[in-house]
Amino acid sequence: MRQANDKRRILLAITASSSLPELWRVVTENLQSGTAELITLFVSDDRWHRAASLPFTREVSRVGGGSENFTPKRAQQIDDDAVGQKRRELNDLASKVDLKYEFEVLPEHDAARLQEFVTFEQDVLIAPSFFKSRPIYAELTRLKCRILFVDGEEDE
């Protein structure tokens, strides 16, 4: 349980398809306004896992249009790769400004856990505006903190 004198938190919510530079710019701006700890929440897209559980779904290649069965293993691989990729990108960004951060993976179906990370009204959650169209948005609206949606390039 966080204490009253704990640092406020900056929460950065991202997905596999989030473009980080603009989000990171907003993060660093908010960090300049006072001491805070940074937590990055990687919201994993459970739609892949759900789709992969179906026996007839196929992944159609973007190059050439060939298709293969879309299996749970493949969905997990995509998830892992996406997490790894985003961590590397964040590490690069953070090392440039000598910033430490925590990294959490939050399955989208478990979005209720978001409440655990937010305690103070001074906390800030920064998320791509894309989240507004996702199921997680319902959970976001329940948070008692400032939420900043950032317009940016999203593949979806």
Partner: protein
């Protein structure tokens, strides 16, 4: 003077004929014969070279023949330059990139001076393009147009997906993106359903979902297949935009250049190609993405190098035609070469690395080459002939020429060749080429044969004196007084081995003058005197006389057996000349002969042991014939004679000892001894006529040296052919000895005269009855030969009687 000398007084060569001194010189301001340091005595060669350089026809290349040091290059350069001044500067040549085939660079011809200008203009253009083209791509106008194109394409792509998503949404299907593709997943209440939810659906619905996914999957594939087409279309539109921007950026720059070269159609055509190529490759100039590996990064200038100009022949307007001497006519230096640069372990080249050789540098003018250097370097002679035959220079590696090149390389366009080759070399090489290369005489139709010497006429001596003066000035030497110049003239006659001619060998003249100057400076003089010339000669001889000294020493100490007094039967002092590098000296050599009854054969021992050359053997055969024709012509020659150079362990060549050998044989047959205080040289013909030989001065001096060492007593002398008297230019000390009566030179025309001098006994002429008088050498010889014939006959008859049989 001994009695024997008195008998042959008419054969004595007067001291005045032993060395033709130079008449006192009066150096006029201008000589009767115009003197040029390179032309004196070379009128024939000068006319030939002038003819060659003026003859503007194929095959009239010139071969200039003369020994090294004859200033043949200087002569060729002077005469070629005279003609070159009339011809004017030839055109410039450039190699430019061939945009249609970069392995075949194109040759571009421009008037003299224009090549440099064109290259500089193209480089300026490149510099300007380097700024202007990227600037055009940086401009807002371009960026806005590019963004508009991208937005248009993006809109088209998004439109494709939106319509698919809309279509899918209508079917309750979501289109999910993975990092590498798309997945179609059924939705319920906006959420992707999982397998459990799916299993909970009615079968009909499940089938409908699966069918919808199947159909949409096919549609998805169809749209994916359309994506490359959309992207290609986008790229083409961007490319067209890039080309428009580039064309606008370069057209102004190129139009200015085209104005400057409006009279040169080839240049205009090339500039059009440059413009087209730049526009076609417009995107290369705006490429900004980093290479995947740092070492693959291209220098930005690399994009522009294909528009550079490789100026391979550069002249300047108003200049003369080139006269070039290539001292090292290797294949690359003569024909040209294609250089390479190493890049990541690979050798690369392009049109900028084509280098011209001397043939192209001299194109339109004159190229001077040394025959021996051309022949001594691999592939050069054939390549030179090929260029002259085809009248063009094809720059390629020798391996390419021979068909051995395996890797790709450039094949530059051949350049037309119009050059006059001036081959300079020694005569023997010319004769070999004439004999063994049938193409040679067709390509080199003019021969300029430099004379080794010139007539010592009064006019020529005067001109020669001026030549000496000119050389003194050119070599920046101390002034020579008149006596010194006279001494030079005499020395040049000695150099020519002829008192009536003067050597035209210029390097040896320069050497003499420079060394005399050195000795004059050594003694602190401000003028070179005759004594400095003598010192220079003495010192030069001294520097190279090690072997001569050893030979003289060996004779003095009795190791080499040479008698200079007394008399011997069948033994005579011959004279030989030894040439070792710069050293050339004469020395006596003992020749002996033995005779006995035999079958008419004179054995040349040198020949038998393969130490004698062909000419020496010929001499021995001639003397053998002379012997048989002169004596006892009515009886078979029943002699077995042998002659040999005693203590000679090297080869013997030449026929200059044939008189000596015949005298030794005559002495052996007649048993009349030969006085050893004489030495003799000369060749003989079948009729007993004594003929001239070479190295006469060295031979006389060689025997004089030995006699001087042992003490001159007035009896010593040398017998030479009368025809050699004109060649005598003996050392001054030898002449002085003769004047004092210490030494003597005899000149003979016939073997009888030589025999008389050597034996002190009359040789004898046949009388009216056809017999030689009694108490003459010839009578004794003939009697002995008749006796040999009788002995042989008697021996043959005895053998027949003793033979078994009938």
């Amino acid at each position: 003077m001994p009695a024997l000398l008195e008998q042959n007084r008419e054969l004595v060569v007067p001291a005045s004929s032993l060395r033709r001194v130079c008449q006192p010189l009066t150096l006029a301001a201008e000589p009767a014969v115009p003197a040029s340091t390179s032309h004196l005595g070379q009128q024939r060669a000068v006319e030939a070279i002038r003819f060659g350089v003026q003859m503007e026809r194929d095959g009239y290349n010139v071969v200039v023949l003369g020994p090294i040091g004859s200033h043949r290059h200087k002569l060729v350069r002077e005469l070629s330059s005279d003609r070159a001044a009339e011809k004017g500067a030839p055109d410039d040549w450039c190699y430019i990139n061939s945009f249609s085939d970069s392995e075949r660079p194109r040759a571009l011809r421009l008037p003299a001076g224009k090549g440099t200008e064109f290259r500089n203009n193209m480089r300026s253009l490149i510099d300007e393009m380097r700024l202007a083209i990227p600037a055009a791509f940086e401009a807002d106008d371009y960026r806005n147009q590019l963004k508009a194109l991208e937005a248009e394409t993006q809109k088209e792509v998004e439109g494709q997906w939106r319509s698919l998503e809309k279509l899918a949404g209508g079917e309750g299907i979501a289109v999910l993106q993975t990092p590498t593709g798309y997945v179609l997943a059924p939705l319920r209440d906006g959420k992707v359903i999982d397998d459990k939810e799916f299993e909970g659906l009615p079968e009909d619905e499940r089938k409908e979902i699966q069918a919808a996914v199947q159909t949409l999957g096919e549609e998805l594939q169809l749209r994916i297949e359309q994506m490359p087409g959309i992207r290609k279309s986008h790229r083409e539109r961007v490319r067209a935009l890039d080309q428009d921007v580039t064309a606008h950026a370069v057209s102004t720059l190129l139009d200015e250049l085209k104005q400057d070269y409006h009279a040169f159609h080839e240049v205009l055509g090339y500039l059009d190609e440059v413009q087209k190529n730049i526009i076609e490759n417009a995107q290369e100039f705006r490429r900004t993405e980093e290479p995947s590996l740092p070492f693959l990064a291209k220098d930005s200038s690399a994009l522009f190098v294909s528009y550079d100009v490789n100026l391979v022949v550069s002249n300047e307007a108003g200049q003369e035609a080139p006269v070039i001497y290539e001292p090292n006519p290797s294949y690359p230096n003569l024909i040209g070469k294609i250089e390479h640069r190493a890049e990541m372990g690979t050798l690369l080249t392009d049109f900028r690395m084509v280098r011209s050789g001397a043939l192209l540098q001299a194109n339109g003018g004159y190229l001077v080459l040394d025959i021996h250097r051309v022949l001594g370097r691999p592939f050069v002679w054939e390549a030179l002939k090929q260029s002259l035959f085809t009248k063009q220079v094809r720059i390629e590696s020798p391996a390419e020429t021979l068909g051995f090149a395996s890797g790709g390389t450039l094949r530059p366009e051949p350049i037309p060749l119009d050059v006059k080759i001036m081959l300079v070399g020694e005569r023997w090489l010319y004769y070999l080429l004439c004999a063994y290369d049938r193409e040679f005489s067709g390509l080199f139709r003019v021969v300029a044969d430099l004379d080794d010497d010139l007539e010592r006429s009064a006019d020529n001596v005067e001109a020669y004196a001026h030549l000496v003066t000119e050389r003194i000035k050119q070599c920046e030497l101390l002034p020579f007084n008149t006596a010194a110049v006279e001494c030079v003239i005499e020395q040049r006659a000695r150099q020519a081995e002829d008192s009536e001619r003067l050597s035209t060998h210029m390097r040896s003249l320069d050497d003499l003058l420079i060394q005399a100057d050195h000795w004059a400076r050594q003694r602190g003089a401000d003028q070179v005197a005759a004594e400095d010339l003598r010192e220079a000669i003495r010192q030069r001889d001294r520097r190279v006389d090690r072997v001569q000294t050893r030979v003289v020493d060996a004779i003095k100490r009795g190791t080499l057996l040479i008698d200079t007094s007394g008399e011997s039967i069948g033994q005579v002092n011959g004279l030989a000349v030894l040439g070792l590098g710069e050293s050339r000296f004469g020395h006596p050599v003992r020749i002996t002969a033995t005779t006995r009854v035999g079958t008419g054969q004179v054995v040349d021992i040198e020949r038998e042991v393969e130490l004698g050359g062909a000419i020496h053997s010929k001499g021995v055969m001639i003397l053998s014939s002379a012997l048989s024709s002169r004596f006892a012509p009515d009886v078979p020659l029943s002699l077995h004679g042998s002659v040999v150079f005693e203590q000679s362990y090297n080869g013997v060549e030449g026929d200059s000892a044939s008189v000596a050998e015949l005298c030794a044989l005559i002495s052996s047959l007649s048993k009349v001894p030969i006085h050893q205080n004489f030495a003799i040289t000369g060749s003989i013909n079948q009729l007993g006529r004594v003929q001239a030989v070479g190295g006469i001065n060295e031979k006389v001096e060689g025997f004089y040296e030995i006699c001087r060492e042992r003490g001159l007593d007035g009896t010593h002398g040398v017998v030479i052919p009368d025809d050699n008297v004109k060649h005598l230019m003996l050392r001054e000390d030898v002449v002085e000895s003769v004047q004092k009566g210490e030494f003597c030179v005899y000149a003979v025309r016939h073997i009888d005269e030589a025999v008389a001098i050597l034996t002190g006994m009359t040789a004898g002429q046949r009388d009216e009855s056809g017999d030689f008088p009694k108490d003459t050498v010839n009578r004794l010889v003939e009697d002995q030969l008749i006796q040999y014939a009788r002995d042989r006959k008697r021996f043959s008859e005895g053998q027949e009687r003793n033979a078994p049989g009938e």
